[in-house]
């Protein structure tokens, strides 16, 4: 093990892993967006519409919270084509799978937040002549979204980490690029360094998730206190 070898391996790590970062971020963005849109709609539907939607939403949440991520991914990637007869590409498959899973958790987070905004506020809004949908969009949701932010931030960090499943479908994400670098190191006979690609990948994942859980969540809590929520 020499200093120049270590430097070379580190240099290669950044070359290889830099290619994976955009894919990891794209999978995360797509998944969290699907999860947000679906999760928020389900939470609103569950709280404000009630029967029979609330039952359906609850069943959905129970299912997707109770099934391992990997099983959901394989169900969609291998199962959907069998059902529809049309193949599904890896990127939409992984985004849809992680998005559907995240929706179940985000729905819970938003439901909690919606219920935390007191019933009095709805009554007050109605009594000044607002329609129910106006009360929801102008009074309830702005507060509920702020309340939900700390929980939502940690869910965001979970989705970043889960995006590493993308390598299983052959997407060139952070994990897959670490894997390929290992193979190259092996071919070069640099066997002492095989742990480095994974170590750097771990650091990069951490660099993404730490600020979110540390700063976004605590900022949101501070903001809540300021607003008296």
């Amino acid at each position: 093990m020499s200093a120049s070898e270590v430097a070379y391996v580190l240099y290669l790590s950044f070359i290889f892993l830099a290619k994976g970062i955009p894919v990891t971020l794209a999978v995360t963005a797509a998944s969290i967006s699907i999860g947000f849109a679906l999760g928020l709609s389900m939470a609103v539907a569950r709280v404000f519409i009630g029967f029979p939607i609330s039952g359906l939403v609850e069943a959905y949440e129970k299912f997707f919270r109770g099934v391992p991520d990997l099983v959901i991914i394989f169900l969609i990637y291998f199962g959907l084509p069998a059902l529809t007869g049309r193949p599904i590409a890896p990127f939409p498959a992984i985004s849809l799978a992680l998005g559907l899973r995240s929706a179940a958790y985000q729905s819970q987070i938003f439901r909690g937040a919606l219920e935390a905004v007191t019933r009095d506020q709805m009554d007050a809004a109605l009594s000044v002549g607002m329609r129910v949908h106006q009360a929801i969009t102008h009074i309830i949701l702005p507060q509920a979204l702020r309340i939900s932010l700390p929980g939502w931030a940690s869910e965001f960090a979970v989705v970043i980490k889960d995006s590493s499943y993308a390598f299983l479908l052959g997407l060139m994400d952070l994990m897959r690029s670490a894997e390929l670098l290992r193979a190259s190191l092996l071919a070069m006979g640099l066997i002492e360094y095989l742990i480095i690609p994974y170590a750097i990948a771990a650091l990069i994942y951490f660099a993404f998730t730490f600020p979110i859980s540390r700063y976004l969540a605590s900022w949101a809590v501070r903001k809540r206190v300021e607003l008296g929520l």
Binding site: A37, A89, G170, R182, S184, L186, A187, M188
Partner: protein, 286 residues
């Protein structure tokens, strides 16, 4: 919370349906499904000027990424380059995790697979395949020091090896998901070899590390891998048997493409190109 007006309720339900539909449609941003049956894949490949080749570039020296050029190189890559040359087309490589290669081929995202993939009966039943371009050998390797201590030079048969290990309570390492794992598991169930003494590893490097640390006493791998790791550890081969042949896989019924690839492979074998490539990449001769 207050009950909703029917209109609002309808609006919310419609929104949910639309979001659901969008998510559903998002699943359909897929590449075009397989070729129209009227035109053969061979004609399509010739027309567009390139063949889409799937591989899993994490298996040196068969396929891996060259650290300076970023290109996929290796024994398989050279074999495929020769074939593409003969077809008169260029190659568009797609790197895909090994376990996803066959589903991706079936989905029509790639034209062929070359990934040191063995022709097993299961694969032969569901896919089209070329004539073999290389045959790996399955070997049992142990540390030289271990062989000397136990007085082993070579085993007569795989069964001999298994029963010797059973009698002494030694452990065997295999890579998970390989045909070697199937071989060891199959023999073990026949013999009553304790399954706790078979250790499956996701990666070859940790397996050889454990071998050198004497946590396991033998490793069952393909010969090329054993040769690769002999540079690092003091290994000795105590048993060897033919493995499955390596072939190029395609979808079933692509007869023209199959014929063209077979012709190129037979030419390579006849001209000794495969032997030269094997020497170049440091794997045993075919």
């Amino acid at each position: 919370m207050g009950a909703l007006e029917p209109k609002t309720k309808a609006a919310i339900i419609i929104t949910i349906i639309i979001i659901g539909a969008v998510a559903y449609v998002a699943g359909y941003f897929t590449p075009k499904p397989g070729p129209a049956p009227a035109k053969s894949l061979y004609d399509i490949i010739k027309e567009r000027g390139y063949i889409v080749v799937g591989t899993s570039a994490d298996y040196p020296p068969f396929e891996y990424i060259n650290e300076t050029t970023g290109e996929i190189v290796g024994f398989d890559a050279d074999v495929m380059n020769y074939i593409a040359d003969k077809l008169g087309v260029s190659i568009k490589w797609k790197d895909i995790a090994f376990d996803s290669l066959i589903p991706t081929l079936k989905a029509g995202d790639i034209d062929v697979i070359i990934a040191a993939m063995e022709l097993t009966p299961e694969r032969a039943a569901e896919l089209g395949y070329s004539t073999p371009y290389y045959t790996t050998k399955r070997v049992v390797v142990v540390l030289k020091s271990f062989a000397q201590a136990q007085g082993i030079t070579a085993f007569e048969s795989f069964e001999d090896f298994m029963s010797f290990f059973k009698d002494h309570g030694f452990k065997i390492g295999v890579q998970s998901g390989t045909t070697h794992e199937d071989r060891v598991m199959g023999a073990a169930s026949k013999f009553g070899f304790p399954s706790a003494n078979i250790v499956s590893y996701p990666k070859a490097d940790t397996m050889f590390m454990d071998l050198s640390a004497n946590k396991i006493q033998a490793v069952v791998v393909d010969e090329a891998t054993a040769v690769e790791w002999s540079e690092q550890y003091d290994l000795v081969t105590v048993y060897k048997e033919p493995g499955y042949p390596l072939v190029i896989f395609m979808r079933k019924g692509e007869i023209e493409l199959q014929d063209a690839i077979n012709a190129a492979i037979l030419e390579m074998l006849a001209k000794g190109v495969v032997a030269d490539l094997a020497a170049k990449w440091g794997i045993p001769p075919p």
